[in-house]
Symmetry: C2
Subunit: 347 residues, 2 copies
């Protein structure tokens, strides 16, 4: 890193999407008189009678959840995508549309209403990963499902309407926009170098050791050089795995461990249940070989200065460029230095 | 519009950015138990002693505002871009960065702390447009400033920390990401057809009359076919104008009129001061001819169902595709049917 970039405005390239982001390191001193958020509620009961995700309770669609004791998934009662939509495409002058089919599922991480990933045990997180693997495989095997997006919205400021630990899966026919960009750039690199771009990237990051938050034998959690959100992070396997279905047992364990360690550090930044959207980007399920793919999980958390002040991706960010104030390196230093033990378990 | 697309999930193409968005019209019945926002405060004083944007008051940087009575601009006390940053570019393996220079300004729309665009008189809005024109021209003429982004963040849920009516301008050396996409698609169309893509688009929309909110002699406000935000709207001139500097006097008046009418309708949707980010996309100031450009102003408002329930662009939207529930046509019908008179002036 040249010196001037630590202090002066600059742009960085996201090598996966091919898009630039603006970094303004000198601007961290800006005072904030604007909106503050409520800090996340804690101290939830293990079972909440009015929660439509707790075992045995009635869901919004009228069905009842089984008395599940492992991670449990079901079709979303208000799916944004529907299966078997009639295939159609529409073109009228400058209007272009096409039908879309898919399946939306909800994945309850635990029967225990009061938990979150950082508070779950490693074996219980392994079970979540096993269910993700099963869903990726089964949904991906359905005729006409070419992409499976696994994600979690955590915290009410991330649009999550229920604190019961859960994520979602939207599986669909077309390759989504964001993934489409990543396919192109990974493919170009693969064709040129015969290696995945993330394999080379993770190797470089391990060598530089400026943005690594935590690592273990098989996985790394780091702040990508092109991070947009204040405490954005990426978890990726050290060896090239196109999708989570390819994890060995010991890799699955290592993934669960790093997931727990990263999310504990998140909660420890501001001693709060840290809100974020997390998502796994992996090979499409279109039946083609995808040697270019290296799966990775991204965390986009909005909090900036405290448990109640977030970064707004608004005006300039919407019309021009994503923009951040603290650098990726500063964020990584903070997260690296935090305890591996959750603040609620520290005396 | 074929019938099935009014009810079934489909994707639509944004002809300016080349990106697809997902529409789920069947999903509007989804109940909401999640986060609600505070409704915007009204009844502000005309002068607020603690406001750093009111005339004669001290700003956060220590300077004092003049006793201005027309729209007034100054350099942002916490600029994200700085002028004359030393030009540098950095490449180290898979890390790519480059320096960026620019100027950030604040534009106070009125000395009156209690106003917003829909509550201002048309002649006073004409004065705002005149100041935007002056800034676009003067900033754009500075050596090394190749793009001028004019925008407004309105409402605290849009990251605006002060209700005093104001917008911002970030002018910079590099072409921002979002504008870069629009240049490519406008250029390709121009080269093929010898007309601007938006000239043809506005003609088609006027003919179809399904997404027009309001129009006058020179301008149209419509819901773009590919709108992402629930009540997203675009204001554009009927004839091809590459930038706001080219407006005739009567066009400037027509622009002010439609700005007032659109923002009144926004406030009338939920009888609240409607939050949004608005931005003007126009020709770069890189000294080149830009015959492909047709300037347009976009409004991205987050409210979805009421003054307190917004649409969250989170998990799926971040990792896969922007997604909306109500269709652009439904939003346009609602906005078209609303009164031209601000709700606060209706008995
Ligand atoms: O400069 P302001 O109004 O304090 O800041 C606001 O607008 C900026 C430009 O869209 C954003 O970068 C900030 O996140 C937002 O809070
Ligand atoms: O399905 P949920 O959890 O009710 O909805 C949440 O996640 C979805 C997928 O990211 C978003 O479309 C919604 O805006 C958000 O509120």
């Amino acid at each position: 890193m040249t010196n001037s970039f630590n202090d002066n405005p600059h742009r960085r390239l996201n090598i996966l999407t091919g898009e630039w982001i603006l970094v303004s390191p000198h601007r961290t001193k800006r005072p904030w008189q604007g909106k503050t958020e409520k800090s996340a509620t804690t101290d939830l009961p293990e079972y909440e009678p009015s929660c439509y995700l707790c075992p045995t309770n009635e869901r919004m669609g009228g069905e009842f959840n089984p008395s599940y004791d492992k991670p449990y998934s079901f079709v979303n009662d208000f799916s944004a995508l529907l299966p078997n939509v009639q295939e159609e495409s529409y073109k009228n002058g400058l209007l272009y549309a096409e039908s879309e089919s898919g399946i939306c599922k909800v994945v309850c991480f635990s029967p225990n209403h009061s938990l979150t990933l950082p508070l779950m045990s490693v074996p219980d997180i392994v079970d979540v990963i096993s269910l993700w693997q099963k869903e990726y495989k089964e949904l991906g095997a359905i005729d006409g499902i070419n992409h499976v997006q696994i994600f979690e919205n955590k915290g009410d400021i991330m649009g999550c309407s229920n604190p019961h630990p859960h994520g979602q899966i939207w599986a669909q026919n077309k390759i989504p926009q964001e993934v489409h960009k990543k396919i192109g750039n990974q493919k170009a690199y693969w064709e040129k170098h015969g290696r995945s771009i993330l394999e080379d990237y993770v190797e470089q990051e391990l060598q530089l050791d400026e943005r690594i938050i935590v690592e273990n034998e098989h996985f790394v959690a780091l702040t990508p050089y092109w991070a947009v959100w204040p405490y954005e992070a990426m978890i990726l396997p050290k060896r090239k795995l196109a999708h989570i279905g390819l994890l060995s047992e010991s890799e699955k364990l290592a993934y669960a461990q790093i997931l727990k360690q990263l999310t504990i550090r998140y909660d420890n930044i501001f001693n709060t249940s840290f809100p974020y959207s997390a998502g796994i980007h992996q090979a499409p399920t279109d039946g083609k070989e995808h040697p270019e793919w290296h799966f990775h999980m991204l965390f986009y958390p909005p909090l900036l200065r405290s448990a109640t002040v977030k970064k707004f991706m608004v005006g300039y960010e919407m019309f021009a460029n994503p923009q951040r104030d603290i650098t990726a390196e500063q964020a990584a230093v903070t997260m690296k230095s935090l305890s591996n033990v959750h603040y609620s378990n520290l005396g």
